[in-house]
Amino acid sequence: MRRYTLYIYIAVAVILGLLIVLPQILPTYYVGLLTLMLIYAIFAMSLDIILGYTGMFSLGHSAFWGSAAYVVGILNVKVLQESNFPLEMGAGLLFSAIVAAIFGLLVLRTKGIYFPILTLALSLTLWGIPFQMRLFAGGGYGIPGISRPVLNFISWDLSSTTNYYYFVFIFFIIATVAMYFIVRSPFGHALLGIRESETRMQSLGYNVWLYKYIIFIVVGIFAGLAGIMLTYYTNFVGPSQLHILYSFEALLMVVLGGPGTLFGPALGAAIITFAKNIISSYTAHWPMVVGVIYILVVAFFPKGIGNLIKQYLQKRSQP
């Protein structure tokens, strides 16, 4: 186990280095792409925690990031006179936590195939809501013109793509480190146990429901964070952000990247975001391509890239 940790440190250092340096040299288009990759990475990793680590197949992930985004949008454009970043972000995160708390109560009582179906249904329902709220939430047109956070204490103009990238990067680091701590902690290990055998965990004395509920909310907050980052990036929020396509994309990122590894889904996020951008410039049929990739991944890479890498490293480090 020890030998490959060195390789890992090196790899991490290299990647971090690249992430810090590249925006200085790449054209703005690519910086924007990198920003998206980081945002999606947070989103995908948070899904990995409940899917890959805890074994809960949640298909309603987009509900979390969409709700946080809407709160930010509403506050930013409709309510506040001037941008108040701490308030917007705090409210957004709080709202996604509340949504997760409510969903959790409804959904965690179900078993088996019901769970994913239900999360899907709840998410679809939530998606329909902004359409009804035309005055408040912009209906089908969404809320355009969201301004990026104005940070008064550091005079940093976030309307520049590059600057905004670094802003997201900071949150990305914070979120990733936090998520790593969580999965390595006793709580995180308990999640693994829950994934493997809930009944065993019950017999050992763990309040399984409580664990699942807590992590569901925590994950919702991380997803909300990603959603807030996205909405500031696009200066827009609309029902599309609640659309199941995002949940599906995140799921694909997790499965392709390797559930249960954290770095895998981040990698998956990068790959899919990149692919999406390239393919979308040639054809409008990105959803179809996603569908095909889904099928290919299930057929050929069921464990995902991340797990394949992990297995490879483990084999290498054994004499």
Binding site: F57, L59, L105, L106, V107, R109, T110, G112, I113, Y114, P116, I117, L118, L120, A121, L122, L124, T125, L126, G128, I129, F131, Q132, M133, I244, L245, F248, L251, L252, V255, H285, P287, M288, V290, G291, V292, I293, Y294, I295, V297, V298, A299, P302
Partner: protein, 270 residues
């Protein structure tokens, strides 16, 4: 009633085979579109119906054979992902082939007009849909509960090895059940054409409806699906007229309540 139809396909495959065909809505849509085109081309409503049912029956078989029966589809997660793949592909395909504008299937002359029952004016077509739904419901109920084949299917689900041992070709049976489910979806899609229309996004709406019905009514239970469908239909209409702002909530709320009280649905088997 329409809602019932489209829910039956889902509840059938889910209940009998423990496979959640999430692409259900997609089959509804695809079936509807195919039927629409055929009907348009040939000018015959019934040909359209047959075409949609037949083509989706084959489509369902293909999907089952090609995807769900494979070794890599053993786990639930894999099945779900495959369904998603299908959903995405079909949805985009329909957009591509039929464009973004809603299509309306034309009711055949035979069914136009309305009936007056006392003070209620009922479009004749809707009545037809109700009747068809009822016929299918009865047929399924009879089939599931009373015939030899129904018993075979249930046995196959309960204990696959035993069934195989007795010589029942369980694979064929499952294939047929699955395709029946998808064909039902297509049928609903085509029949629903004149009422709901066909447009991009309808696959998702239909899926949501079907899920809600199944959740409320209980998995695998036809009567549950019936009750659930009627319930939802009523709530939907009430909700839309009384609280147009909260139409979504009116679907959400009963589902939430049922879940809180009886997670396996009103008639479901625990």
């Amino acid at each position: 009633m329409l809602i019932f139809l489209l829910a039956t396909g889902l509840t059938l495959t889910l209940g009998l085979m423990n496979v959640a065909n999430l692409a259900h809505g997609s089959f509804y849509m695809l079936g509807g579109y195919i039927g629409f085109s055929v009907a348009l081309y040939t000018g015959n409503f019934f040909l359209g119906l047959l075409a949609s049912i037949f083509s989706i029956w084959i489509g369902g078989m293909l999907m089952y054979r090609g995807l769900l029966q494979q070794r890599f589809a053993k786990e639930e997660l894999a099945q779900m992902l495959l369904c998603f793949g299908v959903i995405l592909i079909v949805s985009d395909l329909c957009l591509w082939l039929w464009g973004g504008y809603p299509k309306f299937v034309v009711k055949p002359m035979l069914f136009k007009g309305s009936i007056h029952l006392g003070s209620i004016v009922l479009p004749f077509y809707r009545l037809v849909v109700i009747i068809v739904g009822a016929i299918i419901a009865v047929f399924l109920w009879w089939f599931q509960g009373k015939t030899k084949y129904g018993a075979i299917i249930r046995a196959g689900v309960d204990d696959e090895e035993m069934a195989r041992g007795i010589g029942i070709n369980i694979i064929l049976v499952r294939l047929l059940v699955f395709s029946l489910g998808t064909a039902l979806a297509a049928c609903a899609g085509f029949l629903g054409g004149p009422i709901l229309g066909l447009y991009p996004g309808i696959d998702v709406e239909v899926l949501l409806m079907a899920i809600v019905v199944v959740v409320i009514g209980g998995v695998g239970s036809l009567s549950g699906a019936l009750v659930g469908a009627i319930f939802i239909g009523l709530i939907n209409s009430f909700g839309r007229s009384l609280f147009p702002e909260f139409a979504m909530f009116t679907i959400f709320a009963p589902m939430a309540i049922v879940l809180a009280i009886r997670p396996s649905g009103l008639f479901g088997e625990a």
